[in-house]
Subunit: 291 residues, 2 copies
């Protein structure tokens, strides 16, 4: 059960970054971890929690001597981080990221990395509505997919996949464009819609708004949970996966318009058959064990 | 802790109806319950589970001798049930319903009830995505709001409120129009949107659809749960609260269009401030203890 890396750097100490640290520590192996975040408060919290071997005030100190660098920053910050670390990376080291968009990260990071390191983009399909260094926990990745983007399997991709598996994940290989499409419909669009409806509710007249909060029945309550996620992370996702999101949004809008018309025209049959159809997708998800 | 009714009839043996039976039985009091459903299978299941004193094959047998009749049928069936029971109700008995729309139920039921009974509409804000007689459980109403519609407090409204409280609910008085508006935004619109996005996903090309199911990350998974709810119940809700739903839907569409434009134009500031604002609503809901 030995982790395939002995020196690991985590850049970005939010939910994902600190969860990786917790998960590494659970293994009780002799791994040296270097933790860095641009935010002093995040570094202080991680120092106090004693979940990294070293908490570095300088990003270069955190990465120059490691076998694996994990960039767990919002996707909008990937480019500036890549520029910063480009001159300090150890020859032969593996760089990965945990961003929710893959095309944009590849475009932002690849040009700035030296030729003697291995950049293998990845994305763990795991998260909660909580963010920040206090929100991490060791079991976040257990039985969750961790997607890796590469075309050819190499010694490095195998090592990285093994590492993610040791953290509890199920590893799958995807292509970047396909990843961004899948995520647009399974994650990005649902978040956009949840943000929208909670925003619509927060614009209601004040009496109505207070009672909406008081009587928030199951549907809305779930949406508010989703819409409580980190605003920086989500701003960056929508800016960096806009094409796929806008395409899915267009399909969604057409379908919603259809239902809207059916309600207006009181088309009973149409509504019933639509609401029956969606049950089968839930059934498949439950069967696939992802519920 | 004595229940204020000794003979209670439950018409409609789905999630809500059977949960009421379970909750009454938990009290271990000498209450006689009469259960009826138009569907033979539902009656058979309830007979086998032995959760009602009598399971009646004729709706008249179920209601003619009771102090309280609870109509727990889809809101689209309220009218036909009201017509059926109108001649058999006991003088002085209380009739309530559990429908998710209140204006339509009042319009559908009131004209057919005799003057010597008391119709007091109500709505428990409780449910799951499961439906049918097997899905009920005794704690469904615990600490959940049960809204009652009346203008003047009477002996009958007090008895009904006490009954709901004994089942574990928090009772609140609302007006029918206001109820329908609140529910449009907290429950009906979220369900409509969840149904839409799951429908959009199920129209994707087959490879993409299979991977959407496989990799359904948190956002989409929550939506499929919501969109697995009973299609008859939800068809009826949209047909019977169309005005309030369409009004809220229009506001939602305007907000979504706004965000769509912000994504297309890459308006970073606007996205960030929108996503930050919605967090506060979640915070208030958590504080209100409804999470």
């Amino acid at each position: 059960m030995t982790l395939p890396f002995k020196k690991i750097s985590i850049v970005g100490l939010g939910l994902i970054g600190t969860s990786i640290l917790h998960a590494i520590n659970e293994k009780k192996e002799e791994v040296i971890t270097y933790a860095y975040d641009i935010d002093q408060r995040h570094r202080d919290v991680v120092s106090r929690m004693k979940i990294a071997t070293f908490v570095c005030n300088d990003i270069h100190d955190a990465i120059e001597d490691v076998d694996l660098v994990i960039l767990a920053v919002p996707v909008g910050s990937m480019k500036s981080v890549a520029i910063k670390i480009s001159t300090s990376l150890k020859k032969g080291s593996i760089i990965t990221d945990t961003g929710s968009t893959k095309n944009s990260v590849i475009n932002d990071v690849t040009p700035f990395l030296p030729n003697n390191v291995y950049f293998i983009p990845s994305h763990p399909l795991a998260g909660t509505e909580y963010s920040g260094p206090e929100s991490g926990f060791s079991t976040l990745f257990e039985n969750r997919y961790w997607l890796i983007v590469y075309k050819k399997e190499t010694e490095q991709t195998k090592k990285l996949a093994t590492f993610f598996e040791k953290l509890g994940s199920i590893v799958e290989i995807v292509n970047a464009e396909y990843h961004d499409k899948i995520l647009a419909i399974t994650s990005h669009l649902p978040h956009l819609i949840a943000y929208t409806i909670v925003g619509t509710a927060s614009d209601l007249e004040s009496d109505l708004k207070n009672d909406v909060i008081k009587f928030s029945a199951s549907g809305f309550r779930d949406f508010t949970r989703i819409a409580a996620s980190d605003p920086i992370m989500w701003r960056d996702i929508f800016l960096n996966n806009s094409e796929a999101v806008l395409e899915m949004l267009q399909r969604f809008n057409e379908d919603l318009l259809d239902l809207q018309k059916a309600i207006r025209k009181k088309e009973s049959e149409k509504l019933f058959s639509f609401f029956s159809r969606t049950r089968s997708i839930r059934k498949k998800i439950v069967e696939a064990g992802q519920n």
